[in-house]
Symmetry: C2
């Protein structure tokens, strides 16, 4: 196990009706609020109205920035920072999924930076501090509600990049599973795939002594597998929504990665798909995962796939190791199919046309190599893209 | 899954050499330190000298209180508070295991209370705030390094009681697995039993929808089972010590209990053993666990034992349910025996003489009933004690 410094300061208010804490929690950190949200689903399902009521009841002045896109864009961040500065706003309240929260995090950091906030994403300048933020989560997927990272897209430069700073972690997040009852089937499926992919990125490492962390990762995977289909078939099944929501936070808040060396693979490859084609992140991850697994499986990595197959999928450990490994990959693919996720790039409108450019970009954004479970170079990424077509 | 409010603010510095952060970390919270420790093992293994060096190098004035007993006593707390008040101490630094940390927590709370600190333990008065504390852990067992609770013994009144307050959680804890290399075999075994017992107390509940938490608990149990014997046979096996140390923190920091209704059983029964006979807590827990499991196993609780047997011990799920349940209990007992733990009360010097008094006391300290997996009344506790003789 590697050394690590553990710090997960975000407070989580989990469960039905927890929105009631919102007013008091905001007052712990700020007095003037920028409320941010996405395409308007929160206006249909009543969450927007409830948040507005609470802000008004607590005499908290607020401004609004709606319309934040999935694969959130740097333009929204520029706009949010402008509103904050013009109105002396001191707290940002994203109500939505990972896109809205990610976007708000970089607004919060950009508020204290005089230049263009894209500089912070491309690391031209360093983040020093951020406005406090608190989130109301409406989609279980990215785990942004409990971590310090954000992924931002620049459509002009065709870049989708991650950025992270401790000061960007939400002070608190409200996780009410009933808020995800109205999430459509395809978004629920994409969310489950996203949670599983975060877990895979933390889990698939070479022998690292982090036995406990690997068992914890299996706990998250088993939860996604057990409840994923139920959440799609019975959208108002509270236990399914609750377990998946909590899994989304634990998959990426550090619990599974502390003490391990995790350099992500599939996310780096998927970010190019979303940057070039603006597809749903979780769907891109699900499409790339089985081809990636097939491609990296070899004698060096075999034992890890056996561990995965036996512990997560309950495959008989007496079978031949390669049989277990291949069955584990098949089961992963079958599971995604059972959630209704397309399993080829062509089905989401991606053909040969940009594969080489995307492979080059993936490598370039990772300083020449993607991942470290099996380090992938340009030709490897391209081969995986082709396998996924 | 029940509603919960998650807050685990303790920072953890985990791994070899992390003691180097001590000086700077203390300065974040205080300027004059009370260094507390137990029977002196830290003087033999060099940890004491290193801590003193760091305090001196950082020009941090400090006072000392050594000799804190296992099953820490209220007298030590009274003494510590006196030293803190006389010297305007503003930070407490326990270096040791759970006893030293627990004792320091109640000192930290008692510092702000004018009356006798035992009032806080018996809830005659409420804890309002505490001095900041930071811990250097030398024994993997109680999880006190990352939670807000403490268990204190009053030998005069033969009481061993738990007390908890958010302000008592350490600001930071330093967990260097090499610091546990010199822990003797019997203390290592007791520590593993303690970690497993914390996990059992969180795990054994009736159907609660906390699927993810139950899988996380199994991860902790599997880690103890995998590494427990290795840590005893190879005391300097870093991975074994590291995994057990991190398991000790995660077993009781809230991760396994948030979202569940957990009213502990075996701990309440064991506390009377330690209060009457001053035996090692972990050993008492290990002795009582199999008889408790046998006693509470019935049709209502059968499925939980099956879950335990199949998921933790890998027992064939096609077997008859009662067979699985009984095998899981046998395996638990065999595991404790493999660690060299005595499996009867008589072996640790406890006979019939106080069983009734202890059963009555256990019930009284829990307002009439122990636990809620199967609620236990006085005759039940007595029956379990007798079964353990």
């Amino acid at each position: 196990m590697l050394n690590f410094n553990y710090s997960i300061p975000t407070k989580i208010f989990f469960g039905k009706g927890q929105i009631e804490v919102l007013g008091n929690q905001i007052k712990n950190y700020g007095s003037k609020v920028l409320l941010t949200y996405g395409g308007g689903s929160i206006k249909k399902n009543g969450i927007y109205n409830r948040v507005i009521e609470i802000l008004k009841d607590n005499d908290i002045p607020f401004w609004e920035l709606g319309g934040i896109d999935p694969n959130p864009r740097i333009d929204s961040i520029r706009e949010g920072i402008k509103i904050c500065r013009e109105n002396d706003i001191d707290f940002i309240l994203p109500v939505g999924g990972g896109s809205t929260i990610d976007c708000s995090k970089v607004m919060a950091a950009g508020f204290y930076y005089e230049g263009d906030p894209w500089d912070l994403v491309i690391r031209k300048s360093k983040i020093e501090k951020s406005l406090p933020i608190g989130a109301v989560l409406t989609l279980a997927a990215t785990g942004s509600e409990m971590d310090a990272g954000a992924v931002i897209t620049n459509l002009e430069t065709k870049q989708k990049l991650g950025v992270s700073h401790p000061s960007m972690a939400p002070k608190f997040s409200i996780l009410d599973p009933t808020y995800t009852f109205t999430v459509p089937k395809n978004q629920t499926a994409a969310g489950v795939a996203d949670i599983m992919s975060h877990t895979f990125e933390n889990y698939f490492t070479l022998e690292d002594g982090a036995y406990l962390q690997n068992r914890l990762a299996e706990a998250v995977l088993k939860t996604c597998i057990y409840y994923g289909k139920i959440a799609i078939d019975e959208p108002e099944n509270y236990e399914a929504r609750a377990n998946i929501m909590w899994a989304s936070s634990l998959a990426i808040n550090g619990l599974l990665s502390y003490g391990k060396e995790t350099i992500w693979s599939v996310h780096a490859m998927e970010h190019e798909l979303s940057a070039y084609y603006d597809i749903t992140h979780g769907i891109g991850l699900a499409i790339l995962t089985p081809p990636w697994m097939e491609y990296v499986l070899d004698d060096t990595r075999l034992d890890k796939f056996v561990e995965y197959g036996v512990n997560v999928w309950g495959i008989d450990s007496d079978k031949d190791k390669y049989t277990i490994a291949k069955e584990s990959i098949d089961k992963t693919k079958e599971f995604f199919i059972s959630l209704g996720i397309p399993m080829t790039l062509r089905e989401v409108g991606i053909g040969e046309e940009n594969l080489e450019n995307m492979a080059k970009a993936a490598i370039e954004h990772k300083d020449g190599v993607v991942g470290n479970f099996k380090p992938l170079y340009c030709e490897d990424v391209l081969a995986i893209y082709r396998r996924a077509l």
